[in-house]
């Protein structure tokens, strides 16, 4: 492996496996699943069989152990399935499960991790509330201690895998106002007082199940606490680092897929007696798209390498997310443009990418919130 390479031989093999998984298990059905607004639950089992859900999970529970670039490689290949929603729901364990393995009790880890990476159970993360998602420190869902239970009241919204999940990693207020009063609780589907609302209809990410969650005097055993009581804010912020990296990777890969679609189309499609690639303006547009993607991807890799080396990357990962999502916004817009009327039609991949991409600068912390983080790190 050359010193310039981020991906080693094992990562390349994982990449090949995920590519084949996508080609065999997803691509033949993806258009149907998109129109149906969901993919079969069995896909979790199939992904687990290939080992794809076990990346980064601790080895003692059947995971690969932490390996940032293995995750990056797998994510890049999964995005090639062209359904952002499928990636989001199949990947909701990437944000729901790490708090369990990092801060959960041994009993919780032993029960939850094997089931989730084994594809039998689905994990989701529930932070956002109807009153606000950006201002995490002021979330309102309350959990009041009563004997050996917490009594939870409140609601969550926009939760990915919200309909089908079995385990929800839920942010609740156990203490005073502000960030010092927040905790994480593991809530199981079926707990009395916990209900899931209807599946929300969205601009994009059609194949993912996004839902509202309601808690009405919902009694959750105290042993379901993840991490220290009132110490949840730190866990949430720490969890965001990897989520933001993966969102940056997703944005770069979405842009790359859009560009690849364009490169094919401009050679086939003719206007004014020649292929679109025959116009200098088209070639230059594609050159700009490729340049932006390259710059963003290289930056994202650099941040991933720092995370892999254990460095604190709050500043860099926020920048990487903004660079990548802004790049993908431009590229997917231009891709639809290059496809002309076809780019506006359902069934064209760039049409879906354009819609699916839009969430990436909103979820996991908005563009503006990233700028808040960056400005703070700059001492402003």
């Amino acid at each position: 492996m050359s010193a310039l390479e981020y991906f080693n031989e094992t990562h390349q093999m994982v990449r090949a496996t995920v590519r084949k998984f996508v080609e065999k298990e997803i691509l033949p059905h993806v258009d149907d699943w998109e129109e149906a607004g969901e993919f079969p639950r069995e896909l979790y089992g199939k992904a687990a069989e290939a080992g794809i859900l076990s990346i980064n999970a601790p080895e003692q529970f059947g995971g690969t152990g932490e390996d940032v670039f293995m995750k990056v490689a797998a994510c890049e290949e999964l995005v090639r399935c062209s359904s952002g929603g499928l990636c989001a729901s199949l990947g909701s364990l990437d944000i729901g499960l790490p708090p369990v393995w990092k801060w959960g009790s041994e009993a919780m880890k032993e029960k939850v991790i094997p089931e989730v990476i084994g594809g039998e159970k689905i994990s989701a993360l529930a932070i956002t509330e109807p009153n606000g998602g950006s201002d995490v420190a002021n979330l309102r869902t309350r959990a009041v201690r009563d004997g050996d239970h917490y009594v939870v009241n409140g609601s969550k919204t926009f939760i990915t895998s919200g309909v089908r999940a079995d385990y929800y990693t839920v942010a609740v207020r156990t203490g005073d106002k502000g960030y010092g009063g927040i905790s994480l609780l593991l809530v199981e589907k079926g707990t009395p007082g916990f209900t899931v609302g209807r599946k929300l209809k969205k601009m994009g990410w059609w194949a993912s199940d996004t839902a509202e969650l309601f808690f009405e005097d919902c009694r959750v055993p105290v042993e379901n606490l993840i991490g220290p009581e009132n110490g949840g804010f730190y866990c949430i912020m720490s969890n965001f680092q990897m989520e933001r990296l993966i969102l940056a990777v997703t944005a770069n890969s979405t842009a790359q897929l859009a560009l690849d679609e364009c490169l094919r189309y401009v050679k086939e499609r003719e206007a004014f007696g020649r292929p679109l690639a025959g116009f200098q303006v088209t070639r230059h547009k594609l050159a700009e798209m490729a340049t932006d993607i390259k710059a963003s991807t290289e930056f994202t890799y650099r941040v991933a390498a720092k995370i892999a080396a254990g460095e604190n990357c709050v500043l860099d990962v926020s920048m990487a997310k903004n660079v990548a999502t802004r790049c993908a916004d431009r590229v997917t817009y231009d891709a639809v443009q290059l496809f002309g009327g076809s780019g506006y039609m359902r069934g064209t991949i760039v049409e879906r990418l354009y819609r699916d991409n839009r969430i990436l600068s909103i979820g996991g912390g908005t563009h503006e919130i990233m700028n808040e983080v960056i400005a703070k790190q700059m001492g402003l």
Binding site: Q12, M13, T17, F21, A50, G51, T64
Partner: protein, 249 residues
């Protein structure tokens, strides 16, 4: 029983290759490489035989550059137990490969050698046949079905007229056709396990064989661009054009 699976590192089948400007060959700089698809089928067949309990050990072997280790690692992630790399920077050709494989067969004494019917780089379709000739083993080429029982292997072959079944006494050489099976992909746990499986490296000198190419490539040309078609008005016109313009009848 032991099975030997020779595999080759070739340009990934998704890559659209380009001919080098000086027409000496295909440009391989920064091109994605992979295991030859027919070899993947050979590995898969060996793994299935092992899963059925027919085979006890699968040895993968490759004759090629140091980087062919990647393909051997993949073979082990798919189920091969160990592997051997005969490392060379020569532009290997079927006869040289067959000689090296014969030397490996002499050492390893497998009861079955399963390999791809051809590699998608040179499309030679010669190595399996040459190996059979050099070792004196019977051969069943272009297999679409393989059954091993009682010291024999029954091979269903895809031939022009349909299917032919031959029965060979082990040890034997089998070459795989596309429809033999659908190869699996390596699961992540198996990729991890493959890292710890043994990979031996040898040289042609160790085996006492000469891998120097015997065939010289004079020139490599890209296929001609396909010309636009025309619609003919009648069968007479078609026949006339086939005769006088295309000169094919």
């Amino acid at each position: 029983m032991k099975v030997l699976v020779p595999i080759k590192r070739v340009v990934d089948y998704n890559v659209k290759v380009r001919v080098k400007a000086d027409n000496t060959g295909v440009d391989l700089a920064n091109v994605k490489m992979a295991m030859n698809p027919f070899c993947e089928i050979a590995v898969e067949e060996a793994v299935r035989l092992k899963e059925k309990g027919v085979v006890t050990e699968i040895v993968a072997v490759s004759i090629g550059p140091k980087t062919a280790q990647e393909q051997l690692r993949t073979a082990m992630a798919l189920g091969a137990d160990r592997s051997i790399l005969v490392e060379t920077d020569e532009d290997v050709q079927p006869l040289g490969i067959a000689k090296a494989l014969k030397a490996i067969v002499d050492e390893e004494k497998p009861e079955l050698v399963i390999l791809g019917k051809q590699a998608i780089d040179g499309d030679n379709n010669q190595t399996g046949q040459m190996l059979a000739a050099l070792t004196g083993m019977p051969q069943g080429t272009f297999a679409s079905e393989v059954n091993v029982a009682d010291g024999k292997v029954k091979v269903t072959r895809e031939i022009d007229g349909g299917l032919q079944t031959v029965e060979l006494t082990l040890p034997a050489v089998v070459t795989t056709d596309l429809r033999l099976n659908e190869p699996r992909y390596a699961s992540l746990p198996n990729i991890m396990k493959a890292k710890k499986k043994p990979l031996d490296t040898k040289t042609a000198a160790d085996l006492g064989v000469d891998l120097t190419p015997r065939v010289t490539t004079v020139s490599v040309e890209a296929p001609a661009e396909r010309q636009a078609g025309i619609i003919v008005g009648s069968v007479d016109e078609l026949v006339e054009k086939l005769k006088n313009e295309a000169k094919v009848i």
